[in-house]
C-alpha cells in the first residue's frame, strides 16, 4: 500500500551556511502523504536548521524544497503554513499575553482560514475548534489561563496544539518531548499517532530513542549537516556509521 502514497515533501540538495560555517551540506529528504518519519542526529547536526529551511524561518542558500509538487523555498513562512506545513518550536514560543485558547485561534484565523477551499471559521467557531484540540491534548482545563504562566510541559503541549490548529498536512515536531516524564512522552506519542488517522504526515525530531523507534515508519540520520542514513528504523540503527556517530559523541 505504502508505494501508492504520493510525495508530499521533496527536499533536494539543501545547503545552509552561517557565515563560513556550513550547517546543512546538501541534504535530501522526502516524505509521502501521511508518513511518519523520525529525524535524529547529535546536538548541532542541523536538525532544527533543516526545519527552519523547510518552514521558511530561514532561507536555504542552495537546493530546493517542494511541497505537494510545488517549489516553496522562496515563500515567506506564513505562506508555507497556509499550504499546510506546520512546525513546533524546540524552545516554546507562546504568545505570552494571550490565553491558551487565544494562542490557538491565531493559526486557525490566519492559516487554516486562508487555505483555499476551506470553510472559514468565524472567531466564535475558531474558539470552538481550539477548545476541541485543547481537550484532546489535555490542556482544556487551562484554556483560559495566560500562556506565559504555563509550566514547561504544558508549553510544549501548547506548541503542538498550536501547530495542529492550523490543520496541517505535514507537522514537524522539534523535540516536543525533551524533559518530559515517561508517561508524558507516551501522551504526546499518542497525539502524534492520532495524526495518522487524519492523514497528517509527521516529522518527529527527538533524542529519546524509545519514542523514535516506537513512532517512526522510517528514520533519517543527520550528522554534521549531512544525511548519513535513511530507511527502515531497525536497519538504520544497525548501520555502523550511525553507531559511530552516536558512540563518538
Amino acid at each position: 500500500m505504502s508505494e501508492m502514497r504520493s510525495e508530499l515533501l521533496v527536499v533536494k540538495g539543501v545547503v545552509k551556511r552561517f557565515g563560513g560555517f556550513t550547517a546543512l551540506d546538501g541534504v535530501d529528504l522526502d516524505l509521502k502523504v501521511g508518513e511518519r518519519l523520525g529525524l535524529i542526529g547529535p546536538n548541532g547536526s542541523g536538525k532544527s536548521t533543516l526545519v527552519n529551511c523547510i518552514c521558511g524561518t530561514l532561507f536555504n542558500d542552495q537546493g530546493s524544497v517542494a511541497f505537494e509538487g510545488e517549489e516553496i523555498s522562496r515563500l515567506a513562512a506564513h505562506k508555507r503554513i497556509r499550504r499546510g506545513l506546520a512546525r513546533s518550536f524546540q524552545l516554546p514560543k507562546p504568545f505570552a499575553t494571550m490565553t491558551v485558547v487565544e494562542n490557538l485561534c491565531v493559526p486557525i484565523l490566519y492559516a487554516a482560514n486562508a487555505r483555499p477551499g476551506v470553510v472559514r471559521a468565524s472567531p466564535a467557531q475558531a474558539v470552538e475548534q481550539a477548545m476541541e484540540i485543547l481537550n484532546k491534548i489535555g490542556l482544556g482545563a487551562k484554556a483560559r489561563e495566560m500562556s506565559g504562566g504555563l509550566t514547561q510541559v504544558d508549553m510544549r503541549k501548547l506548541e503542538l496544539a498550536r501547530a495542529m490548529a492550523s490543520r496541517p498536512k505535514l507537522l514537524i515536531s522539534d523535540e516536543a518531548m525533551a524533559g518530559l516524564s515517561n508517561s508524558e512522552v507516551d501522551e504526546i506519542l499518542e497525539l502524534l499517532f492520532a495524526m495518522k488517522e487524519q492523514g497528517i504526515a509527521v516529522i518527529m525530531i527527538e533524542h529519546i530513542m524509545r519514542a523514535v523507534m516506537r513512532f517512526s515508519e522510517r528514520v533519517a540520520v543527520l550528522v554534521a549537516g549531512k544525511k548519513i542514513a535513511d530507511g527502515d528504523p531497525e536497519e538504520v540503527m544497525r548501520n555502523p556509521e550511525v553507531e559511530r556517530a552516536y558512540l563518538g559523541e
Binding site: 506564513h78 518550536f89 514560543k93 504568545f95 505570552a96 491565531v106 490566519y110
Partner: protein
C-alpha cells in the same frame, strides 16, 4: 461579560462625544476650550501611538514628525488656497502622514526593538530639517495661518468650531483603535507583539500587518495635527516638532494601559489635564518633569497601567465572590 459589538459601540461613542460637546457650552470662559482642545489633541495622539506601540509592540519616538506632517499639510494648503475648507486639509493631512508612516514602515520595520525606535527618532530629525528649509511654509521663521472670520456651520467663534471638530476626531480615533483591537487584525498584531517569528509561523503576514499598523497610526497622528495651525495661528518648526509630543504620546498609553483603546484615553485625559492645571498654576516648565516622574512611577510600580490595576482589582473581587459562595 459580553463585549459590545462595534455596531453598538460606534453610535455610543459619537453620542457620548456629542453630549460632551453640548455640556461644554456651559464652560465659564474661553480658557476651557483651549485647554480641552489640547487634552483632546493628546487623546488622538496617544490612541494613534498605541496602535503601533501598544498593539503591535513597536515603540515610535517620532510622533512629532507625524503630527507636524498634518500641521504642515494644512499650512501648505492654506498658503496655496486660504479659503480651502478644513475637511479637505484634514483628509490631505491624513494621507500625507499615512504615506509617511507606510514609507517609514517599509524602511525600518525589519529593525526590531530599540533600533526601530532610533530610526523613528531619526525620521523626526530629517522631517524637521526638511521643514526648516522649506520656504513655502515659512521655513525656520514660521508662518501665520489665519482662521476665517466666520466659523462654518453657525458655530460663531472659530475656537468653538475647532473644539467641536476635535471632539469628533477624538471619537473617530478611539473607534478606529477599538475596531482594530476587536478584529482579526488586532489578534494578528498582538501575535506580532508577543513573538514575531511564531506569529509568522502561525500564518500571520507580519510584514503586511506591520505596514498597516504604521500607516493607520501615522495617519491618525497626522489627523491630530491638521487643525493645529488654526488653533495657534502661528506655526513654526521648533514648537510643532516639540519633544513633548513624542514623550506624552508614549507616557499616556503607558500610564493608562496599552492593551485596549481605553488606556490611552484615560492616560491622555489624566496627564493632559494635570499638565494644563500645572501650566496655569505653576509653570509649563514643570510639565515634562511631571510626566517623567509619573512615567517612572508607573513603569516600576504598575507596568500594565491604570487599566492593568483595574483588571487586577476586578479579578480579586471575583475571586472573593467565588470563595464566599
Amino acid at each position: 461579560m459580553q463585549k459590545m459589538s462595534n455596531k453598538v459601540f460606534i453610535p455610543v461613542v459619537y453620542g457620548v462625544a456629542l453630549a460632551f460637546g453640548l455640556l461644554s457650552m456651559l464652560a465659564p470662559n474661553d480658557y476651557f476650550y483651549s485647554a480641552a482642545y489640547t487634552v483632546l489633541l493628546f487623546v488622538i495622539l496617544s490612541s494613534a501611538w498605541n496602535i503601533l506601540g501598544g498593539y503591535t509592540g513597536y515603540v515610535n519616538f517620532g510622533t512629532a514628525a507625524f503630527f507636524a506632517m498634518g500641521a504642515y499639510t494644512t499650512v501648505a494648503i492654506f498658503k496655496f488656497a486660504p479659503g480651502t475648507p478644513l475637511i479637505v486639509m484634514i483628509i490631505a493631512g491624513m494621507l500625507v502622514a499615512g504615506l509617511t508612516g507606510l514609507g517609514m514602515g517599509a524602511l525600518t520595520l525589519r529593525l526590531r526593538g530599540v533600533f526601530f525606535s532610533i530610526a523613528t527618532l531619526a525620521l523626526s530629525v530629517v522631517m524637521f530639517t526638511f521643514v526648516v528649509n522649506w520656504d513655502y511654509v515659512g521655513g525656520a521663521r514660521g508662518a501665520y495661518v489665519i482662521a476665517p472670520r466666520v466659523a462654518p456651520l453657525g458655530f460663531g467663534r472659530y475656537i468653538y468650531f475647532l473644539y467641536a471638530v476635535m471632539i469628533f476626531l477624538s471619537a473617530t480615533a478611539m473607534i478606529v483603535a477599538r475596531i482594530i483591537e476587536t478584529s482579526t487584525i488586532g489578534r494578528g498584531l498582538e501575535a506580532i507583539r508577543d513573538d514575531e517569528l511564531a506569529a509568522e509561523c502561525c500564518g500571520v503576514p507580519t510584514l503586511r500587518l506591520k505596514l498597516l499598523s504604521t500607516t493607520i497610526s501615522g495617519a491618525l497622528m497626522g489627523m491630530a495635527g491638521t487643525t493645529y495651525p488654526y488653533f495657534v495661528s502661528y506655526v513654526e518648526p521648533a514648537s510643532t516638532f516639540n519633544l513633548s509630543y513624542a514623550v506624552n504620546s508614549i507616557a499616556m498609553p503607558l500610564i493608562g494601559g496599552m492593551t485596549t483603546w481605553v488606556g490611552p484615553l484615560i492616560g491622555a485625559v489624566l496627564l493632559g489635564t494635570v499638565q494644563q492645571v500645572v501650566q496655569v498654576t505653576i509653570s509649563s516648565a514643570w510639565n515634562l518633569l511631571i510626566v517623567g516622574v509619573l512615567l517612572v512611577l508607573f513603569v516600576t510600580l504598575a507596568p500594565e497601567g491604570i487599566m492593568g490595576l483595574w483588571y487586577d482589582f476586578r479579578k480579586k473581587q471575583r475571586a472573593k465572590k467565588g470563595a464566599a459562595q
